[in-house]
Amino acid sequence: MGYQTPYAPTRSELSSCIQCGLCLPHCPTFRLTGKETDSPRGRLTAMTAVLDGVTGIDEVFTETISFCLGCRACEPVCPSMVPYGRTLEGARAEISAHKGGVLRRLRGWIMESWLGSPGIMRAVTWATALVQRTGLARIAPRRVRSGLRGLRRIGWRTPSLRGRTFEPDRAPVATVGLLTGCIMGPWFAEVHQASIAVLVRAGYRVVVPSGQTCCGALAAHDGAADGAGRLAVRNAAAFRGVDYVVANAAGCSAHLKDYRHWVPGDALSDDWRVRDITELVADAVEDGRLPRLEGGRGTVALQHPCHLRNAQRIINQPRVILEAAGYQPADIDPVCCGAAGFYSILRPDTSSRLGRDKADEIRRSGAALVASANPGCEMQLRSHLVGEYPVLHPVELYMQALSDATESRA
């Protein structure tokens, strides 16, 4: 009975919920089923029930916690400021510790050892590129097929950025360390290129520390807490000395900002500061370090990744960037798109349902393309929009507009 790991939800975290229920209508799973068990309040009460020994970590508890998307839409609307995302990670770590199981351990191993290894990611990338080029995708299992459909066209091999430094043409505003991440590097190489170009143009020195690894968010969200902790410790060491750690995937920047929960006190530098790239670029636009370009590029559907909006409360910055690029952004309802990391593979039905709703909304928005600042959301949107719309990172769209402006001037 009770909890057994150091990651468990604590009494003080849980007792900050006063059960007012204001979170309920904001929760996508509660909206789907109308059940208390599928609401944030219900999940917190369930976690407290286990803490108090009212129930154990049984099938019902596991289902309640596993059904959660981890979108954290409950957090910004909570007047009691309950740290829901943290307690969820803790509860999932407990389920993993309690239940074990071959499949769960395998997942934990993949999330730490595969995502954390550039060599394995290269091999996976090569295999995926092969699948993309041979039509093997057609015979892939359904859960994987939807993910494959959402991918960009990926190269056989992407040159690594690690160990490189990019200098601005003037005295740097600050030194930022770019997280290349697990899949961002090989699968979203264009986003990294655009990020580096825009950051340098904004006056930042960009370093790409070679000792870095996967941020550990996917492991943490899935309950592979020990692995997530080890990945975090490696990054904490690799990024020492930079002014800001910057990530261009909302899920990664959100998790990096939570490192105090994952890295023992002295292993994390006191001035550990993390920014999502949309924050740095929007700041630069507003300070005049990056130009506001001419308008008339049309309407772009602006999707708000949960880990940008709910976890980091970054709401306005992507809009600032898109407007500076000359687009007219149309906000898409911020409810989770259903990607939610590995959720789309673990629970394809719920994921697809939310993905379809999101795609329908984008179709109604009148936009010609879609902006999303998170790779998971991007894949989900592309998969459900089945090739109808280009889906790109806001910073990529800004970079394109910047190149177009430079060319037309030349």
Partner: protein, 481 residues
């Protein structure tokens, strides 16, 4: 009907599964635990929880429960505070959240048929394109359901001018204790025969299960002014409230909060509230532009003459929304002061607000309980919030004792037990403060007329011993009753 039912009842569960399917019937220990309470402090013990989707299913669940000798407790979003949806003696918790269809909006007649599971704010959002809204606006309106509003006859800030839920319900479809379906009221403004709507609305699920409602929609006002007025003391703010009403104005809303409350809200929302002030008055006037401008000016004048520190008028819809969000999130923000809270609901005559408030703080001091106050000043509806830590032994009992004192003081001043939250389990023992034995007996007879066997939400609202006579005895022929 059995008085206490604890633990699971597999026969009942299996019958319900045959009716609804396994996905919609819950009876594991954890599921029953999650449905054991609402947003208040009382806990019950459900036997089984069902998710219903249609009127027919509700009727069949009632018949099934009755066959098993088990009561039925209706529940919406579970945001209630008086334990109306708490299954005190066990039974079937019948959840209406899936009955959330807005069936038809009649824009010409300003009405809509809605399911009981429709979220209050969703209804107003859905009717915005027609220039209308559902007027009752409890603070929990973003989460609470219309069914719950009907059960508790809920109010909200704007009930000062618009009246509470009962004024916005035209007809109800109700599942009776026999599992039959009846309609009370109609679209006509003055229904023929006895008007039973006022009996069903506010009956807290003790008379039947509402499965559909014909609600009245209110046209959105052409213009609105929302003002935040800061005062050094609650007394100055209360004097302003009296002044506004005495001047013949009925603002759309007139809300007050004290300094502690402002600080807790500000800490979360960063709405720019004047946290250094002793009290904040939120006043809203609606109507045609010329009228709202004149009324806003009058209110500002009355506030100035009562030593207002500042008068701020919301300059944009976003500013107005932020002011209301700060008011409506108040009760959640209280958790920053202590892990548990008890949000009270009593009413005093408006003229006695100042002395009542003074005594509220005295009670807080005597029990060493942090009292934060946010309330509907315009209609004298107090909401003292008591922040406490329930894990301290005996603390909850002290808080409940303090709560009883609060009610007693309000009733002494000519007030009533509850403004809008309902009686539930929370205040039934206080009913005799307000009602004579005859009154209570009359209410018990109404209950018996609808639900003689006590199928619906047993033990709620009326205290034990409300019935003066033994109705089980056959009445002699020809006797006058």
């Amino acid at each position: 009907m059995a008085a206490t039912l604890t633990g699971r009842n597999t026969k009942l569960r299996d019958d319900l599964i045959r009716l609804l399917g396994a996905e919609r019937v819950m009876d594991s220990a954890l599921e029953r635990h999650l449905y054991a309470k609402d947003a208040g402090v009382y806990r019950g013990n459900p036997t089984v929880v069902v998710m219903i989707e249609t009127t027919e299913e509700a009727a069949q669940v009632v018949r099934t429960a009755r066959r098993h000798g088990v009561p039925v407790v209706a529940r919406g979003a579970g945001t209630g505070l008086s334990a109306g949806a708490v299954p005190e003696v066990g039974g079937v918790v019948l959840v209406t959240t899936r009955m959330n269809r807005i069936e038809e909006i009649d824009a010409e007649n300003h009405t809509a048929w809605v399911g009981p599971g429709v979220i209050n704010l969703d209804l107003s959002r859905a009717t915005t394109p027609f220039g209308m809204h559902f007027a009752p606006d409890p603070s929990s309106q973003s989460a609470c359901t219309v069914g719950g509003n009907i059960a508790c006859n809920s109010g909200g800030p704007h009930c000062l001018s618009e009246g509470s839920t009962v004024n916005h319900i035209l007809a109800l479809e109700v599942v009776t204790d026999t599992g039959d379906v009846m309609i009370v009221g109609s679209g006509a403004p003055d229904p023929v025969g006895l008007d039973l709507r006022g009996i069903i609305v506010g009956s807290e699920g003790t008379l039947g299960i509402v499965t559909r409602a014909l609600v009245k929609l209110t046209p959105n006002p052409p213009d609105v002014r929302t003002m935040a007025v800061a005062f050094a003391t609650i007394e100055d703010a209360a004097a302003t409230v009296s002044g506004i009403i005495a001047a013949g104005l009925i603002p759309a809303a007139l809300e007050m909060m004290d300094q502690l409350m402002m600080q807790a809200i500000e800490n979360w929302l960063h709405a720019g509230l004047p946290v250094e002030a002793g009290a904040l008055l939120l006043a809203e006037v609606t109507g045609v532009t010329e009228a709202v401008e004149a009324e806003a000016e009058m209110i500002a004048g009355i506030a100035q003459s009562n030593k207002a520190l500042s008068v701020q008028v919301a300059a944009s819809p976003a500013e107005r929304e932020l002011l209301w969000k700060s008011r409506k999130s108040a009760f959640g923000a209280v958790a920053q002061a202590a892990p548990d809270y008890y949000l009270h609901d009593t009413v005093v005559p408006r003229t006695r607000l100042v002395e009542a408030m003074r005594q509220v703080y005295e009670i807080g001091q005597r029990y060493q309980i942090t009292m934060m106050n946010v309330f509907h000043a315009g209609d004298g509806n107090l909401h003292p919030l008591m922040a406490f830590d329930a894990s301290e032994p005996g603390r909850l009992d002290e808080v409940k004792a303090a709560a009883d004192e609060l009610v007693e003081l309000c009733v002494e001043k000519g007030g009533v037990l509850s403004g809008e939250h309902g009686i539930g389990m929370e205040k039934r023992h206080l009913m005799p403060l307000l009602f004579t034995e005859m009154d209570l007996d009359a209410q018990a007879r109404v209950k018996d007329a609808f639900d003689a066997e006590g199928v619906f939400n047993p033990g709620k609202v009326l205290p034990e011993g409300s019935r003066c006579f033994d109705f089980g005895r056959p009445v002699p022929e020809g006797a006058w009753v």
